[in-house]
């Protein structure tokens, strides 16, 4: 990824110097190891702040809308699919955005790595498929493939689907016999066990709404959880309210979610909130043959009517 970041910086510097874009949205080094944060670069001198590595798990499409003037954005496969969704949903115009595509080899699961250490991680570096992670007590050399985020494991769109320029050569896409083994596991449970599974899943939720804030799909000016008149859902820690929030949040993403994993990346409690949206993604694929964010000319299934739409649920 070293060569890739050089190219990203070169391209960004060039765009800013020529005045083609007002700013470049990318990733910057975070304040702790194994963390990156979104950054908007406005001058050529600042391009050195841009980084790209296996900890860039957030989705930059989240910061693309609501900007004045033309912007450039660094986009992995999933970011590019959310930019497509933004264009389809009129959140941004195609000519307002310059996409620097980055082929992605997957992002790492920070919670999974943190579990290997008893103390705090103080250093993280990577070399190709090898990760080197250190704490005060020990240094471990890990294979990146074993510590990928859940959504990256089943990703079939590593290369940007829409781009103006690519920062590296495309990577090989994986072909999965079953793209939803995690959903199948839950589907195999009986009803009570399913309920128990989701109760356990959300039991640590602190209602911080980081999942919602990190999600590029959640751009409503007032989210349903923040409304007080009417108040759709209780605001406290009541577990029915917590589950209602997660259920509805997921359903608002039906047919739109690209499984970028930003929600899981942002969750401070390590909750795999994707378990909700994954079922909807599976249904979208099976019932409508639909994967979100692949084509700017197609309307999402819940936004369009076709006489062929499955209707066996309605009497």
């Amino acid at each position: 990824m070293d060569t890739c970041i050089k190219k990203i910086r070169e391209l960004s510097a060039d765009l800013l110097e020529k005045g083609e874009v007002e700013k470049v949205i990318g990733f910057a080094k975070g304040t702790i190891p194994m963390a990156t944060s979104p950054i908007a670069i406005q001058s050529k001198q600042d391009v050195e702040k841009l980084v790209f590595n296996s900890t860039c798990g957030l989705n930059l499409a989240n910061y693309a809308s609501g900007q004045k003037g033309k912007i450039a954005i660094i986009a992995k496969g999933c970011d590019s699919r959310n930019i497509v969704t933004h264009i389809v949903e009129n959140q941004i115009q195609r000519d307002q955005i310059y996409i620097i595509g980055v082929p992605c080899s997957g992002m790492v699961d920070k919670h999974k790595i943190a579990k290997l250490f008893e103390d705090e991680i103080i250093d993280f570096s990577e070399d190709g498929d090898t990760l080197i992670v250190s704490s005060f007590l020990k240094t471990l050399t890990l294979k990146k493939q074993d510590y990928l985020k859940g959504n990256c494991l089943y990703c079939t769109h590593k290369n940007p689907v829409l781009h103006d320029v690519m920062a590296a050569d495309p990577v090989e896409e994986q072909v999965l016999e079953n793209p939803f083994p995690d959903v199948d596991l839950i589907e195999a449970l009986d009803l009570d066990a399913k309920w128990q599974y989701f109760e356990n899943l959300t039991k640590n939720c602190i209602r911080c709404y980081a999942c919602r804030n990190a999600c590029p799909l959640c751009y409503c000016p007032t989210c349903f959880v923040d409304e007080s008149s009417p108040q759709w859902v209780g605001k406290g820690q009541n577990k029915t309210d917590v589950n209602t929030f997660h259920f509805l949040r997921a359903f608002h993403c039906a047919g739109r979610c690209t499984d970028c994993g930003a929600c899981v990346e942002a969750c401070p409690m390590g909750i795999n909130v994707r378990d909700f949206t994954r079922k909807l993604n599976k249904d979208s694929l099976e019932l409508f043959g639909w994967e979100a964010g692949l084509d700017v000319t197609k309307r999402p299934p819940l936004d369009a009517y076709s006489p062929d739409d499955p209707d066996d649920f309605i009497k």
């Binding site: 959903v183 839950i186 589907e187 009803l191 009570d192 066990a193 399913k194 309920w195 128990q196 599974y197 989701f198 209780g234 009541n238 029915t240 309210d241 589950n243 209602t244 259920f247 997921a250 359903f251 039906a254 909700f276 079922k279 909807l280 249904d283 649920f313 309605i314 009497k315």
Partner: protein
């Protein structure tokens, strides 16, 4: 939506979708009868119920 509710452990028979015109009184009665029969066949619901106490 029914699918996701079932995925979370809510019995499929608890949630029903229908389209009934205001002129279709008999269809309304039939659907409501069927829904009440199917819901009565289940045990009382304990999921997604807010306990105010």
């Amino acid at each position: 939506m029914g699918n996701l509710l079932e995925h979370m452990g809510i019995e499929k028979d608890r949630v029903h979708f229908s389209w009934i015109s205001s002129a279709e009184a008999t269809k309304f009665v039939d659907v409501v009868k069927e829904i009440s029969d199917r819901v009565k066949a289940l045990e009382p619901n304990k999921k997604f119920v807010k306990d105010y106490n």
